[in-house]
Subunit: 378 residues, 2 copies
């Protein structure tokens, strides 16, 4: 194997596939990046066996030569060193050459690295996915949907299925749902598809977080293929594979109350900052719990009390309050997470009593909702 | 105590004095910030008993009212909460009022915090320093001198005196010297003084690091007062006290070789980047050791070899090489630290053999030098 490549393109691709590489793996070869040079270009692969990322660097693009292939071939190089080295090379082009079996030379200007490579034949094969049922969604929308749901997955392994996000496709609508059983995030959007296949799978939260880091903010369509135990995201020159979580995701639809007894509309930012302030003292207490009470004159009061330290109380003018008076306590962290995930300058909170879950929605937008379970204190 | 203050000024002062506050203290009241309101303005104090910082906010400045004093007095508030609270308050002005003994109310807009304060009488007194012998130095120069020396202090407590920087004032020249016994950094500069008092003290490296973070990059003069066991830095509205280290600092002058057998001049950045690349593999080995050898045609070769991973070799064109051929090994980290501390685009390295300390200096500037002890490998 021998090729000369534009350094910037190599650095970018290495950075992308590094997102899948971990040093904590039981399969030593997965600490490496697989490099394959064909007559079409260079393909890099990184994997931790849960997530696999493949980045392709074409020989040329828009008439520009990006890679000059001198000899095809393949090698696996230690990801940790290879990624650091390419970042710090002195010149704009890099030559990579496999000599004497696995010895690999990296040349750039007057700098020459010799790395001990590993046999690319030993590298695990990526899942083979037939691309019959593809659906599509703009990249930037996908990133938003991930951001608005993935924070609500469970971080505890007691119910592993809850560490993933439930992706439900039906009638060309994708619904993403995450819950840790104390709160729930739901976001829906239309997808583009040639058929109307249905899916109901659970994607690990970690995979979605890594995917989100790699994707750009363009509105180009990304292809999504779901199989029995894998999901594949296909962007330009990039393949992202993730295994799916096994097991049945709980039916969350009955958790979401359809009626409400008190409805409060507030400006999102003003409310978020008040909760943030109230949580400054509450954080030291056990549960970071703050209180909310409706008061006369369509205002609400946010407060918290930690006797050893002090207390805080704040009034916020609501845009509108309808229904019964209410006093309720909840986790400030969950509330702030939910408010940050919602879009729109104004939100409506629908309560059905101090002991029942309540729902946050942007005004006049039913594609997203955030649900939070209250805490018993009043 | 009761006053109304501009929030931005309060936030800035709190941030400054926070640099001295630690949560790991055996004196509980030092986890707090002391706030004193007088008819002249508000003074904040933070201390960990090694470092004490006092920040003064005047009642008015350039005709602008900054603080409105309603009632003089003093209180100590938990630094951790107070600093977080003031940063997040909703309005541009803040009212702080001590009610019922130690209960303190912080009001901003419709937000009201109640904090349990501590008795300001219990707060330790700052050292009393008579300001007879003051010398002065521009603030930005002081910051440069700290940056160029403090990194070389020892991080080990086996010889506590080496965890400080030796400040030596003689004939109106300040010499700052730091060494961890494997390398040494020296920087000299003229000071401004009404007398020609001499000092030879050792200031803890940690104190200088914290001081450097607080000072701005202006060229305004800062007053420095050295006493038997304290040093005081006086900037505008800011007092920074540090205790001095006890004990005798080793005589370092005899460490610095006066002659040389090989002199190499190189471009600082080019050399730094080559060392950085060579250290990528060497870091994994025991000591992060790289090798340097003069080669024919006034070039040098930088290399490192870590058999399990690979090796790297690079040639650098020297600006000039004089004297004997040389092969030498040294810590890449020490070399990079030294190169980053030196100013100037070109440096001269003076070697007196593979086993002797060598010295780095900018071309034609004898106010600074960096010395490194080689490692035995050749």
């Amino acid at each position: 194997m021998r090729f000369i490549i534009q350094r910037d393109r190599l650095v970018q691709s290495v950075q992308d596939v590094m997102k899948a590489v971990t040093s904590r793996t039981t399969i030593p070869i997965l600490t490496g990046i697989k490099i394959v040079a064909t007559n079409e270009g260079v393909t890099l692969t990184g994997s931790d066996s849960d997530i696999s990322i493949e980045s392709f660097i074409p020989k040329e693009e828009a008439g520009d030569e990006i890679v000059e292939i001198k000899q095809t071939g393949a090698i696996v190089l230690q990801a940790k060193f290879f990624s650091e080295i390419v970042k710090k090379l002195p010149t704009d082009t890099v030559e990579i050459q496999v000599e004497n079996h696995l010895q690999t030379v990296i040349r750039s200007g007057k700098s020459e690295f010799n790395l001990n490579g590993l046999d690319a034949e030993e590298y695990p094969h990526l899942p083979q996915i037939s691309e019959e049922n593809v659906f599509r969604i703009p990249t930037d929308l996908l990133k938003v949907m991930i951001r608005q749901t993935v924070f609500a997955v469970s971080t505890s392994e007691t119910r592993p299925i809850l560490t993933g996000v439930n992706w439900n496709v039906e009638n060309n609508v994708l619904a993403c749902i995450a819950t840790d059983s104390h709160r729930l995030a739901l976001r829906k959007a239309r997808i583009q598809s040639e058929n109307d296949a249905s899916y109901n799978v659970v994607i690990p939260g970690k995979s979605l977080n890594e995917l989100s880091k790699i994707l750009d903010d363009s509105n180009e369509l990304i292809d999504i293929v779901i199989t029995e135990n894998q999901v594949l995201f296909k962007a330009k020159h990039l393949l992202f594979f993730s295994r799916l979580l096994e097991g049945n995701y709980p039916d969350t639809s009955r958790l979401i109350p359809s009626d409400s007894k008190t409805e409060v509309s507030v400006l999102t930012k003003e409310f978020l900052h008040a909760i943030d302030r109230a949580s400054l003292l509450a954080r030291e207490g056990k549960n970071n719990v703050v209180k909310l009470a409706t008061i006369e004159g369509s205002a609400i009061e946010v407060s918290s009390n930690t006797p050893e330290i002090g207390n805080v109380v704040e009034q916020i003018q609501a845009q509108e309050i309808n229904g019964e008076e209410l006093k309720i306590s909840f986790s400030a962290k969950y509330m702030m997470d939910a408010l940050k995930a919602l879009e729109g300058s104004e939100i409506k909170i629908s309560f059905t009593g101090a002991m029942r879950p309540f729902v946050l929605r942007p005004i006049e937008d039913d594609s997203i909702l955030q649900l939070i379970l209250p805490v018993r204190t009043y």
